[in-house]
């Protein structure tokens, strides 16, 4: 009876084969932290990202550029630019707004929704 030592494949070997998990959104979003200081500088999605056909053109924060200080819930026309067709708030990565302004914008949109100036849910 020959003892056959089972050559157990160490777990470490398995994990080495697997490529490091790269979250798709992390690379282009790396420019996010610098974007809050001013207009976002060329956050183009790297060509290495498989599947991402479109590249991000330079996005500037509308509020920073036009120096709009107060984002009020009353000016529906301004707020409506950042609201999608179905009433959802457009995410920052699509509208190009910087973080502090996006926060204030989101608060204003929610206030406008409460006072029936903007809908909660639209068409879709």
């Amino acid at each position: 009876m020959a003892d056959e030592t089972k050559a157990t494949t160490p777990v470490a070997e398995l994990s080495a084969d697997r490529p490091e998990p790269r979250s798709e959104g992390s690379r282009p979003e790396g420019g996010q932290r610098f974007g809050s200081r001013g207009p976002r500088s060329g956050g183009s999605g790297g060509p290495r990202e498989g599947g991402r056909k479109y590249f991000r053109r330079k996005k500037v924060c509308k509020f920073c550029v036009e120096k709009i200080e107060s984002i009020n819930y009353k000016d529906v026309r301004l707020l409506a630019q950042f609201v999608a067709e179905n009433g959802k708030i457009v995410p920052r990565r699509l509208s190009g707004v910087c973080t502090p302004h996006q926060r204030r914008l989101s608060v204003a949109i929610k206030q406008a929704r409460n006072i029936a100036l903007l809908p909660f849910a639209g068409r879709a």
């Binding site: 009353k74 206030q111 409460n114 006072i115 029936a116 809908p119």
Partner: protein
Amino acid sequence: MNRTYELMFIVRPDMAEEDLDKLISTLEGQVTTTGGTVKNVERMGKRRLAYTVRRFSDGMYILLTVEGTGELIHELERRLRVTEPVIKFLTVRIDEEQKRLDKIKQIRDARRKAAPAPATPEAGGEPAPATA
């Protein structure tokens, strides 16, 4: 210790004008008796609501800017809740925001004064030289 609030409320569209005036004066009276001040009353007119509220699709918007304590707002809101024609209201505190805006304005004005740009020339543009 007075804070500035902005109270916006919607009244049903088929409300009579004088009833509306009565309501507003009642609210103003309430404000002054509690020791606050009414800064501004603005009737924003009839607007289409973004969604139906209590089976109404239009409404008269009224904006009331008030300076007072939190207790005052509590009382005003209680009144609005009870008043039948009022279908929605929203109170926003604006004194912090005002402070921030004033500060920004101050900084901007100071900056503008510090670096005066010679935009307009002094001379009014005398067409012809002094005639002899």
